[in-house]
Symmetry: C2
Subunit: 224 residues, 2 copies
């Protein structure tokens, strides 16, 4: 929900569906309304099928604990949507898509609006009070330039075990995952120049779309 002003208000069709069908709430039931874009929330009470009363706004109680940037080489089809959902649910605070050499898909800048919507929806679904920022970087070089995290990991099957790097990491994190074909040697070199460490997780090759949940699940394990 955006614009959480105190007082009574009407719900739109999507909100009615969400409140009555997904959460099965009835007149008189109370719930917490989120505005993930502004990381605020408020108590709410259902007055009728289409109206709620909102209480005073406060900062969200459940937000990401750590700055985590997730950079992903543009994948095929609707995998980017799934990546936004997984990364939001597992605590990324910034998601950066970037066309790399082996990216087949070249999403138009308007695609970003869709990803921002998906991130907001995913935050609401997982009870997260803040939605990650989602952007489309024009080039790999610019995506790397935009990173200021202390610990930077570029996923590559030939890298060192992720544990070695994560277990000593404090502060902000950044991860980069390639598209279906992975990164080129030149892209890996550029990442190394920007202080990224090449790391792998697990014994097998991960598909590009599995990486966010697996890696951010591993991060969540160490920083619960």
């Amino acid at each position: 929900m955006s614009d959480l002003a105190e007082g009574e208000r009407a719900l739109d069709a999507g909100q009615v569906r969400y409140v009555s069908r997904v959460h099965r709430l009835h007149v008189g039931d109370r719930f917490v309304a989120f505005d993930p874009t502004n990381a605020v929330e408020c108590d709410a009470e259902i007055l009728s099928a289409r109206r709620v009363r909102l209480g005073k706004c406060r900062p969200s109680a459940t937000t990401a604990m750590r700055e985590i940037t997730w950079v992903h080489g543009c994948p095929k089809g609707d995998k980017a949507d799934a990546i936004v959902r997984d990364a939001t649910e597992l605590g990324a605070t910034r998601i950066v898509f970037v066309p790399t050499t082996r990216s087949v898909a070249r999403p138009s800048p308007t695609r970003v609006e869709r990803w921002v919507r998906i991130a907001r929806e995913a935050a609401r679904q997982c009870n997260r009070g803040d939605a990650p920022e989602v952007i489309l970087a024009p080039t790999w070089e610019e995506a790397l330039q935009g990173i200021d995290a202390e610990t930077r990991v570029c996923l590559d099957p030939r890298g060192e075990p992720l544990h070695a790097v994560l277990s000593r990491a404090t502060g902000a994190l950044a991860f980069a995952a390639g598209p279906e074909g992975g990164f080129t040697e030149a892209e890996l070199d550029a990442a190394r120049t920007r202080n990224f460490v090449l790391c792998r997780l697990g014994s097998f090759v991960m598909r590009t779309e599995t990486a966010p949940a697996a890696v951010l699940g591993a991060v969540a394990l160490l920083a619960p």
Copy 2:
């Protein structure tokens, strides 16, 4: 590939496509052929567009390092397919689907053949030499009875941090994840009776389909 007998053999249509289009191999190229069902592999050489020569069979070099059973309450739609793929890629050795109280889907036993195929395909795709066993347990009680792992985790948002349990775990692991609506109190009680510990991962609510990649990613971090 099944039946990796030494000598020359013809490829079927799916294998031709895999060799020539997915891996872009040409006549004279060599590769390693896997039989994930029997956890064996052999060297292979492409003789023509449809024929290969196989070398002597040997045990697979890259197989799961640890016994990991993944139990999952039957989810909606084709999420079970994605769960098989993710769990295979991240090292599960046994995948058990089970209809629970809140499962909307009640898959027929014939569905298992499809999951076995998906597991075999996923193993091949991630360079894993052994495919996990996939079964459909008739009831929650029978699924629990079939577990003999030392460390048993039932995922629940109110549980303790997964790290506490995983960091002291040695030997075989078992995880149980509920369907969309989670487990009922009675199901959680039955799991506790069977020595399952209730655990959560991360600060937010995980969707049922995200759990295998996130949790097994966390396992892979500690046991690389």
